[in-house]
């Protein structure tokens, strides 16, 4: 089966901004793939280039070398079939939740009859029906992220790219959001790549995860997450879960032998 997204030997170097700086190699020969309807997590120490991977797939930055394939052909530019959910919600503050959600189809000239029912259903699915005429500044952090997710889903994207979407939320809200995301994934058959620094979150949500090394980021390990779906929070108490989590944490903290374990 052909992967939805495929990165082949992708490297990224950022030029120095002044004579006092050196150029930075953010990614070195990264190979990874995201298959249809998969949830893939990207974890790694901060500054390892996780966000760069996401920006490359979104088309925001062009890799210095290597190839990115989308549905088997070379990826070109930015497009609504690969939608980003930003870490700090990038909502339009002058628009209501509803207007934010329908922004994409409205701008692209999609007929109202076509997007309106879908928008209403999605707003209900993310639990914002009672808040659809509120403005972003009137919402909690969790609600803002729900709005961003709804704004992406309305465009029927093939891939959702989430950049530490729940990182800034409190533990309780984060659990709710994770559960909501799984519900969305089942209902809309989405393909999801998400970045997180929370290993537990990665294990709870994903089918597979990539562990990136410190800068320059390269794929240190690919892990198939073995837990069956649907997953419940009781998984957090599972022995295999705890073992895998400990193993990954050891890897992230740079124990050199962890790379060859298992």
């Amino acid at each position: 089966m052909r992967s939805t997204i495929e990165l082949i030997n992708v490297s990224q170097e950022f030029a120095a901004q002044s004579s006092a700086q050196k150029s930075t190699v953010a990614l070195a020969s990264v190979n990874m793939h995201i298959d249809k309807k998969e949830i893939v997590a990207l974890v790694g120490p901060s500054g390892c280039g996780k966000s760069t991977v996401l920006n490359i797939i979104a088309g925001f930055v062009r890799p210095t070398s290597g190839q990115v394939l989308f549905d088997g052909s070379v990826l070109s530019g930015i497009g609504p079939e690969r939608l980003v959910v930003f870490q700090t919600p990038a909502l339009f503050p002058w628009q209501t939740v509803r207007d934010n959600v329908t922004f994409g189809p409205r701008m692209r000239g999609v007929a109202i009859a076509e997007y309106q029912p879908l928008a209403e259903r999605i707003i209900a699915d993310v639990g914002l029906t009672d808040f659809q005429y509120h403005y972003p500044y009137q919402l909690s952090g969790g609600m803002r992220q729900r709005t961003q997710i709804a704004r992406a889903l309305v465009n029927k994207p093939e891939v959702l790219l989430l950049d530490e979407p729940f990182g800034a939320l409190d533990a309780q809200t984060r659990l709710e959001m994770q559960e909501m995301l799984l519900g969305i994934w089942e209902r809309y058959q989405a393909t999801i790549l998400f970045i997180t620094h929370d290993v537990e979150e990665a294990l709870f949500l994903s089918d597979r995860m990539y562990v990136l090394s410190a800068r320059p980021g390269r794929v240190q390990r690919e892990i198939k997450v073995p837990f069956e779906r649907p997953r419940r929070y009781s998984l957090f108490g599972d022995e295999a879960f705890a073992r895998l989590k400990a193993e990954i944490l050891a890897m992230l903290h740079g124990k050199p032998d962890a790379e060859h374990a298992a």
Partner: protein, 256 residues
């Protein structure tokens, strides 16, 4: 939100004390009544001004002359300033071409150009409106372009990601996102325009509040000088209330 006491009664008290002081010093003859008229004189002058006008023109004509010049000039400055501001904020090349010139002219006090515009265009309505318009223009351009440059990159990326076309990016995303700063420019320009119209009328005009205080001073009708200043102050205050009201209504989402 910080909860603080406004002490509004203190403001009223200060105003009241000043009024009492003014009444005392003028009525007891402690100051020359020619230089500082009493409250009674000011009251009669005000009634006379609003019923008989000044120097052949009604009170309304004087007030409206100044207000008309301000709003026309201001409107011109805004209408030209916003597109130019968007342009040089969005295109670094446009900024390289126009930016240095604008930066050079902006700090020159607009009234320094009064002799030149009189030389070029005489003393009619046009030179005054031009003077106000250009002064407003610099501030609208400056704030609009700064506003454009400070639109968060993620907001632009989000819009591009959702499939906006270039003109939609400018008018549906960048302009509204920059609007708070545009509004700051408009507010500065409004206050400045009101100051310039009075200055321009002091130099060359047959009507308007600036003309009135200059003419009244020349003919030693000092109460009219004070009255002119008071009316200018009140209208300036009203303009500030107006722009603040527009801002709160239009930009309720600002800074949140």
């Amino acid at each position: 939100m910080v909860i603080y006491r406004t002490y509004r009664w203190l403001s009223w008290l200060t105003g009241g004390l000043l009024f009492v002081l003014w009444t005392i010093v003028t009525n007891l003859g402690w100051v020359d009544p020619v230089l500082l008229p009493s409250p009674q004189t000011m009251f009669h002058t005000t009634v006379d001004f609003f019923s008989n006008g000044y120097a052949g023109n009604s009170a309304l004509n004087h007030v409206m002359a100044s207000v008309f010049r301000t709003f026309t000039g201001l409107a011109g400055g805004i209408v030209f300033g916003i597109p130019i501001g968007l342009l040089i904020g969005y295109y670094p090349a446009a900024n390289a071409v126009l930016g240095p010139m604008f930066s050079f002219i902006r700090p020159v006090p607009p009234i320094a150009f009064i002799p030149l515009v009189i030389l070029y265009f005489g003393i009619g309505e046009f030179p005054k409106i031009l003077l106000i318009g250009t002064a407003a223009f610099w501030y609208v351009v400056l704030n609009t372009s700064n506003g454009v440059r400070s639109v968060p990159i993620d907001l632009i990326r989000a819009a591009l990601n959702l499939g906006v076309k270039p003109h939609q990016l400018v008018f549906r995303v960048i302009f509204p996102a920059a609007l708070p700063q545009v509004m700051t420019g408009v507010k500065t320009a409004t206050a400045l325009s009101w100051a310039i119209v009075v200055a321009a009328e002091l130099v060359a005009a047959q009507m308007g509040l600036g003309y009135m205080i200059m003419d009244a001073a020349t003919f030693f009708r000092v109460p009219y000088v004070y009255l002119g200043i008071i009316i200018i102050g009140i209208i300036g205050l009203a303009l500030e209330f107006l722009t603040n009201a527009i801002e709160t209504r239009l930009l309720h989402w600002r800074g949140r």
